[in-house]
């Protein structure tokens, strides 16, 4: 026992000495304070209060606007009201691109993304539901018959021109079509309300308080979800899959907002902007920036003296954005070019950010991707 105490004493002594000597160093060269003083909780607060919750609030307002436009259309079915309804739909769809990536907490619980934006939509299923009038939109098997893509079909795809489409809403099946559209809208509105109220009533505090470093901590979860969204939904879903890069042949039917046909590139750009803004911690609808993945990388970098990863990522996002800006709507890019070379080149630029996020960023932050519960050595 004496020996153990002796050993502990020596170790304490060693520890004390080593801490002394560095204290001295710090006094001698105070400007070389290489401590990473990055506060994860400040980043979480910025995410929650300045980005996520305001984005949800804006989306809620746009959803409400969409429902209002529908009510006007329902009361008086005519071409100008249809155009107004489509404009509100587009407005809300763009707004959606700013919240789609936050599949965490309440959104994850209700499967927000899966319920709001599964495409290609199943137009035959929708036709059947309208005809029979019996359907349960809360079933997961019916996710391909609701959300924004279903509205795309209902507002843009029922007929070849506006007269044909309006005929559905004023003919024999008028009631059925209006009812189904309304049910889709109300389902979206109520899902949104659930997610938003959960965020503001409790989850925000849970999210911010969980500021640790475990695999279940908010930062780790959020980074995983963020990268998952970028890779699966933005890169693959909105571009890669319709381009056919995973199947060998193009699938124009899988373009987002297929029936409208001209806005898929705009929706993509909205989503890419949202992704980049989140990376930079840019407050929603403001040019102000707070603590973010970018500033976290910068803080870690001061210690490592490595490459400026946040700048490299921003450059890559910008390059991708510029390439997309030169494209026309994805549907026509894919349908009119064989192979769709310029879109493939743009896809490559979108793709290049994936390893930077998935390898360099998470490695710098020591966050594990798709956390697997197993031993290491």
């Amino acid at each position: 026992m004496k020996k153990v105490i002796g050993a502990l004493f020596i170790m304490t002594l060693v520890w004390a000495c080593s801490s002394d000597s560095t204290a001295e160093e710090e006094v001698m060269i105070p400007e070389e304070n290489e401590d990473v003083s990055f506060e994860r909780s400040a980043m979480l607060i910025n995410w929650a209060d300045n980005i996520i919750i305001p984005s949800y609030a804006a989306f809620t307002a746009d959803m409400d606007g969409l429902v209002n436009s529908f009510n006007t259309f329902k009361a008086d079915v005519n071409e100008s009201n249809l155009d107004a309804l489509r404009a509100s739909w587009l407005n809300a769809y763009k707004s959606w691109q700013h919240v789609e990536m936050f599949e965490i907490g309440p959104a994850e619980t209700v499967g927000f993304q899966l319920n709001m934006n599964i495409y290609p939509t199943d137009n035959e299923k929708i036709d059947g539901f309208v005809t029979t009038g019996s359907y349960d939109l809360s079933l997961s098997s019916n996710r391909s018959a609701k959300g924004f893509p279903a509205l795309d079909y209902l507002l843009n795809g029922l007929g070849d021109n506006d007269t044909d489409i309006l005929a559905f809403y004023s003919g024999n099946d008028q009631e059925a079509y209006l009812q189904y559209t309304e049910d889709v809208l109300l389902d979206m509105q109520s899902l949104t309300a659930t997610v938003v109220s959960d965020w503001t009533n409790g989850y925000r505090d849970t999210f911010v308080a969980n500021d640790g470093a475990s695999s279940t901590a908010s930062v780790d979860r959020m980074v995983n979800d963020y990268i998952f969204y970028y890779e699966k939904y933005l890169r693959a879903g909105k571009m890669g899959i319709p381009l056919g890069v995973f199947s060998g042949s193009t699938l124009p039917r899988n373009v987002e907002a297929y029936y409208e046909g001209t806005i898929s590139n705009d929706l993509f750009l909205e989503a890419l902007t949202a992704v980049q803004d989140f990376f930079n911690g840019k407050h929603f609808n403001s040019s102000e920036e707070g603590e973010s993945l970018a500033s976290y990388l910068d803080a870690l970098n001061t210690l490592k003296n490595g490459e400026d990863l946040s700048a490299l990522l921003n450059d890559q996002f910008n390059t991708a954005e510029n390439m997309i800006l030169d494209l026309s709507a994805f549907r026509s890019e894919i349908e009119n070019n064989n192979p769709p070379t310029s879109m493939l080149l743009a896809y490559d630029e979108v793709q290049k950010a994936v390893p930077m996020l998935k390898v360099d960023m998470v490695s710098a932050m020591s966050i594990s991707i798709d956390f697997v519960d197993a031993d290491g050595d």
């Binding site: 490592k304 793709q351 697997v372 290491g376 050595d377």
Partner: protein, 455 residues
């Protein structure tokens, strides 16, 4: 000279030391198996995956579907029997075979400490660990020996010494010593650990951890051997391993090492432990103190044992240096990286996107890795060339069976090592379907752009 060595090797020491080691080793292994099972890892790692990554030459070792559980049952039972010392020879052979089979099933789960268990259990086949405080010795007085030759205990000390010392040698490189990498990446992310959490982001702490870690590994075998420093050394062992347990997800390894180093303690320590044990369990231990010295019956058997154990240690000393036969940076190519006690040396991760080209139609597409392999497999595959090649072959076969012709497989692979920006890892113009696995250097690995000096 020879007689001196002979004398040393054969010098009788009390069996107690080896008996304690056997009992604790068996129990720890049993616990490890139960723990592994209870976490659902058998199902997740060995039953569910569609593809398993094999070691070169051991492609025939595969999980057996649901019967994989049976292998774990056998392994756990063997561990228990080893601990009890019942039909020890057979039990330890079965343990070695079943444990090694499990480790060979999928190299995704390769860990140095699993390799350590395999190697140690192989060595234990040749040691008379059941000569005391075992059911074998209890029921059969002929098998009970108070003393055993000294080499049997020292061989385990030597193996432990190699593990530590080689782990220390591996740390003598510029990344570890002069950049505090990868600890500089790992430690700051543990900021929420009580007491020391805030210190971990201090640069000097990262250097202290790096240097003291290397120093610890290089010196601890000697400090444990030397009687005067032994108690301090053991405290260091405990502190070091507990610290690694707190900081990193390394499962049972710290406990295995802490318990194993008990073998360095005196016979009296182990005797006291056993006396205490017999009192608690009401075992009549007098049978074990018969003053007999263990002696192999046939001279041939003795000779064979010496030859095998000597060869075994020669291999142990040589294998970690096989990397010298390969060109390029070891950490980058990983040619000769495994089985060398290179523990926690790298923060390495990668991203691999495979492109399948139909050689006849020219049609191409990318592979969604999640269709075929688990996240853990993808993570390991993305920065290790032998995984990448095996996976490419799997993809070629899969898509040719799917109706594609003359399939070519290309990969865009980006790898980051110890905080360096990721760069291309595999030549993207090489059709991996045409490359063969072998022990030769893989010339389609793009050479490392930086330099890491040292061993």
């Amino acid at each position: 000279m020879e007689s001196l060595i002979e004398k040393y090797i054969k010098a009788p020491v009390e069996t107690a030391t080896l008996a304690v080691f056997r009992i604790l080793f068996g129990l720890m292994m049993l616990f490890s198996i139960v723990r592994f099972w209870s976490y659902g890892w058998i199902d997740k790692l060995y039953v569910q995956p569609e593809l398993f990554f094999s070691y070169y030459g051991f492609e025939w070792v595969k999980p057996l579907g649901v019967y994989t559980y049976l292998i774990f049952v056998i392994c756990g039972l063997a561990a228990l029997l080893v601990s009890l010392g019942y039909r020890y020879k057979l039990s330890i052979v079965i343990f070695f075979l079943s444990f090694t089979y499990i480790e060979l099933m999928d190299k995704t789960t390769y860990l140095n400490h699993y390799y350590f268990i395999s190697v140690l259990s192989f060595l234990m086949i040749f040691l008379p660990a059941n000569a005391s405080y075992s059911l074998d010795a209890y029921f059969n007085p002929k098998k009970s020996f108070h003393y055993i030759p000294r080499w049997t205990i020292d061989s385990i000390k030597l193996l432990l010494g190699i593990v530590y010392f080689y782990a220390g040698l591996a740390k003598l490189n510029s990344d570890w010593l002069f950049n505090a990498m990868p600890l500089k990446i790992w430690l700051p992310s543990k900021f929420d650990i009580p007491l020391i959490g805030n210190l971990l982001s201090e640069e000097w702490v990262q250097y202290v951890f790096s240097w003291s870690g290397a120093l610890y590994d290089l010196t601890i075998p000697f400090l444990l051997l030397y009687k005067k420093t032994r108690p301090y050394a053991f405290v260091m062992v405990v502190v070091f391993h507990v610290l690694t347990r707190v900081l990193f997800p390394i499962g049972m390894f710290p406990y295995v090492m802490i318990i194993s180093t008990l073998i360095f303690f005196d016979e009296s320590f182990h005797s006291k432990f056993l006396t205490y044990l017999s009192k608690v369990l009401h075992i009549d231990s007098s049978k074990f103190y018969n003053q007999k010295t263990f002696k192999e019956l046939s001279a041939f058997k003795v000779k064979m044992k010496y030859i095998i154990v000597t060869l075994f240690f020669c291999l142990q000393l040589a294998i970690p240096f096989r990397y010298l036969l390969y060109p390029g940076e070891l950490f980058w190519t990983e040619e000769g990286y495994r089985f060398s006690w290179r523990v926690m040396l790298m923060e390495k991760s990668g991203y691999a996107q495979f492109k399948i080209v139909d050689g006849e139609s020219g049609r191409w597409f990318y592979v969604d890795n999640t269709d075929f392999i688990t996240p853990l497999q993808e993570k390991q595959m993305a920065f290790q060339p032998d995984f990448i090649l095996e996976y490419a072959h799997f993809l070629k076969n899969h898509f040719e069976a799917d109706g594609h012709n003359n399939v070519q497989v290309y990969v865009d692979c980006q790898v980051s090592l110890n905080g360096r920006l990721s760069t291309s890892y595999i030549d993207p113009t090489i059709d991996l379907g045409k490359q063969k696995e072998s022990f030769l250097h893989k010339n389609w690995i793009i050479p490392f752009k930086d330099e890491i000096k040292g061993i």
